[in-house]
Amino acid sequence: MRDFYVLQSDRYTGIMIKLFKVKEKQRELAENSNGKPPVKKQSAGELRLHKDISELNLPKTCSISFPNGKDDLMNFEVTIRPDDGYYLGGTFTFTFQISSIYPHEAPKVKCKTKVYHPNIDLDGNVCLNILREDWKPVLNINTIIYGLYHLFTEPNHEDPLNREAAAVLRDNPKMFESNVRRAMAGGYVGQTFFTRCI
C-alpha cells in the first residue's frame, strides 16, 4: 500500500506527527490489552559469535564446552591438551567471556587451571597479544584458541607474567622442564602448590 514512497529521509519529514497521533490514540484505546510475550533481544555481538562458533575448526588437541547449555554461547570453556613440548600430557581449561559488543571488544579469557607458565600468572591472567593490544574485529574465536595452543608449544620468556618461571626458562631450560613436570603431576614448585592436571 505504501510502496509509492520514495525512500529518502526528507520525504518523511512531517509524516511522523501524524503517525504518532494515530499511535497514541490507538494506545489509549488498547490500554490493558497487551498480549505479546516478552522477547529476548539478540545482540549483534551474539550473532557474530554464533557465526564464529558454528565455524569452529579446532585441532584434535582442543575442545570446547558450554556450561550454561546450547543457548548461552557468550560464556564457554576451552580445554587444551598439548601434544608437543613442555606441556605434553597436561590438560588446561580456559574460560571465555564474550561482551555484547563483540567483536568490537576482545573476549575476556582466563586460565582456570593453575599452571607454571611464563606467560600465564597464578591467577589465570594470560599474556597473549591478540587478547589485548593487538585484538582486531577480523580475528575470531578460532584465532584465539590457536594462539592459546601456541603458548603451550612455545612458551616465551620475553613477555613474562610469571617472572620466576620466565627466568628459569631463559636461564635453565632443563630445570624449567622438570618444574613444569612437577607442577603438572601435582606438587610444589618453590612456594607454590599446583594441582595435578595430567
Binding site: 505504501r2 525512500l7 529518502q8 529521509s9 506527527i17 557465526k51 571488544e105 606467560n119 591467577d123 599474556c127
Partner: protein, 450 residues
C-alpha cells in the same frame, strides 16, 4: 488569566516561528498552525535515555521545546563529581537516583511538562516499554548501551513484501555523545538512515596495554593503575570481582597503583586519574554537552513536527582548537543484521528445520550451504562444534513453526558458506520468515494501523 496567556505565548514565541509559519525547508507533509503545536504537546512521547551530563541538558531542552510527555531512564545515583555540569543536581541530592531528581527539577522549572523517571537498567524494561515512545533520545556514554537501545528500536521495524520499511513501525532515535571538547549528534531513522550497528566501526578500539608490560615493565601512571586494577586485585581478592562504582574498591586500586608507581619511580598517579583509567573516563565539558544536546533537541523537534529537514545524518563537533563542525551523510549497510530487511522467506507451517536448511541452500538469494540457525537467542541448529551439533540435532525433524513458538512471522539468522567454487566464503544472513496461512501475517494487517 490574561497573564497566563501572555506568559504562554511568550514562552512559545520562538517555537511558533518554526511551527506556525510555512517555510521552504519544511517537509512535504508539514502543516503549520496551532494544531500542530498542540498535537506535538499532546501526542508525542519522548524517552530520554541517560540522565547524566547530556541527559540533564536534553530534558531541559526538550521541555523548553514544548514537549510535554517525557520519560527518562537512568540506573545511576548522583555523585559529587557530577555537580559541576549536571546542573539539575545539588549537593543535597548526592546519593539519590539521577532520573528521579532530574525529572523533579525540570518539572519544577517548566510548567506543564510531565516527566516520568525510571531508576533502573535499560535491560530491565520489557520491549513493550520502548515501543510506547514516539522518539528515543540517547544521552549515553557507552557503546554497549547504545548498541542495546539500537537493537531494541530497530527490532520494531517491519518491512513490506518489497523490502521497503513501513514507516509506522519506525522508531526514530536521536543520539548524542561527547568526549571532552568533542561531540556528535546523529539522527537514526531505522530502515532509512544507518543504524548504530551499520557504523559501529566509527568507534576507535579501546587502548589496551599488554598484561606483561603491566606486570614487568610499567612506564606510565596508567600502566601502574591498570596493574593494580587487572592483576593485583585478583591476586589479593580471590573470587571477589572488582566493582568500578564502589568507592572503596577504587580507593584500594588507587593506593596499590601509587605504591607501584613509587617502586618504579613513575609520577602522576592520582585518584582522579585512577578513576579515569579504570572507568575509561574522559573529562566532560559542560559546554560540549550543552551544544550537542541543543542539536539533538532540535533534531527531535524536526522529526516530530516536520518543520525542517532533519540532519543527514551525523554531525561532529570539535572544539579542541577553535571550532570545527561538519555533517557527514553515512550510508546504510544494506546487509545490516540489525536494521536491514534481511531476506523474506515464506514457508508452510509443516516445513521442518532440516527442510528449511536445504531450502536456504537452494534459495537463489541465499545459496548458503551448511547453515546453522538461530532464532531470538535460541540456537536451533549448530553445524559445529560437535558438542553443539549433538545438542541441537533432534530439532532437525521438528517443524520450524513450532521451534519459533508458533509466531506467524519472525526473524532468524543463518550462518554458513555462500557462493560457489573458489568464491566460497562464510556468511551470516538475516531472514524474515513468514508462515503461510497463519492469521495476522498479511501486509494489510500492518497497513491497518496507518
Amino acid at each position: 488569566m490574561a497573564d497566563a496567556t501572555t506568559q504562554q505565548s511568550s514562552r512559545s514565541r520562538d517555537l511558533d516561528k518554526l511551527l506556525l509559519r510555512p517555510g521552504h525547508l519544511v517537509g512535504p507533509a508539514f502543516e503549520p498552525g496551532t494544531e500542530l503545536r498542540d498535537d506535538l504537546q499532546k501526542y508525542v512521547r519522548i524517552l530520554v535515555v541517560g540522565a547524566g551530563g547530556l541527559g540533564c541538558e536534553l530534558l531541559k531542552d526538550l521541555a523548553l521545546s514544548g514537549f510535554k510527555n517525557l520519560e527518562v531512564i537512568d540506573m545511576d545515583r548522583i555523585e559529587v563529581s557530577n555537580l559541576n555540569r549536571q546542573f539539575l543536581f545539588r549537593l543535597e541530592d548526592v546519593g539519590k537516583p539521577k532520573a528521579e531528581v532530574a525529572a523533579k527539577r525540570v518539572m519544577e522549572r517548566v510548567s506543564g511538562v510531565n516527566i516520568v523517571p525510571h531508576f533502573c537498567r535499560i535491560e530491565d524494561k520489557e520491549l513493550e516499554f520502548y515501543s510506547e515512545f514516539s522518539i528515543i533520545v540517547l544521552g549515553l556514554d557507552s557503546i554497549e548501551a547504545r548498541s542495546y537501545i539500537n537493537a531494541v528500536a530497530c527490532g520494531f521495524l517491519e518491512y513490506d513484501s518489497n523490502d521497503n520499511p513501513q514507516e509506522q513501525t519506525m522508531k526514530p532515535m536521536v543520539d548524542g555523545g561527547t568526549e571532552g571538547f568533542k561531540g556528535h549528534a546523529r539522527v537514526i531513522l531505522p530502515g532509512m538512515t544507518p543504524c548504530f550497528e551499520c557504523t559501529i566501526w566509527l568507534f576507535p578500539p579501546q587502548v589496551k596495554f599488554p598484561l606483561c608490560t603491566l606486570a614487568e615493565t610499567p612506564r606510565t601512571a596508567a600502566h601502574c593503575i591498570e596493574y593494580a586494577h587487572l592483576i593485583k586485585w585478583d591476586e589479593v581478592h580471590s573470587g571477589k570481582s572488582f566493582d568500578p562504582d564502589n568507592p572503596e574498591h577504587m580507593q584500594w586500586v588507587y593506593l596499590e597503583a601509587a605504591k607501584r608507581a613509587e617502586l618504579f619511580g613513575i609520577p602522576g598517579v592520582t585518584y582522579s586519574l585512577t578513576q579515569g583509567v579504570v572507568k575509561n573516563i574522559i573529562p566532560a565539558i559542560a559546554s560540549t554537552n550543552a551544544i550537542i544536546s541543543a542539536a539533538c533537541a532540535l533534531e527531535t523537534l524536526k522529526i516530530a513536527s516536520g518543520c525542517s529537514k532533519t540532519l543527514s545524518n551525523y554531525l561532529t563537533y570539535n572544539g579542541v582548537e577553535g571550532l570545527h563542525t561538519k555533517v557527514t551523510e553515512f550510508v546504510k549497510d544494506k546487509d545490516c543484521l540489525v536494521c536491514g530487511p534481511g531476506i523474506l522467506i515464506e514457508l508452510d507451517t509443516s516445513v521442518t528445520l532440516k527442510m528449511f536448511i536445504d531450502l536456504v541452500e537452494d534459495h537463489p538469494k541465499l545459496l548458503v550451504s551448511g547453515a546453522s540457525v538461530t532464532h531470538r537467542g535460541k540456537n536451533l541448529y549448530m553445524q559445529a562444534p560437535p558438542v553443539l551439533e549433538e545438542m541441537t540435532r533432534s530439532n532437525l525433524s521438528l517443524p520450524l513453526f513450532e521451534l519459533m513458538d508458533k509466531f506467524p512471522k519472525g526473524v532468524v539468522h543463518v550462518t554458513g558458506t555462500a557462493g560457489k567454487g573458489d568464491n566460497r566464503q562464510s556468511c551470516l544472513r538475516k531472514l524474515r520468515v513468514a508462515f503461510k496461512g497463519v492469521d495476522g501475517i498479511t501486509d494489510t494487517d500492518m497497513a491497518g494501523g496507518a
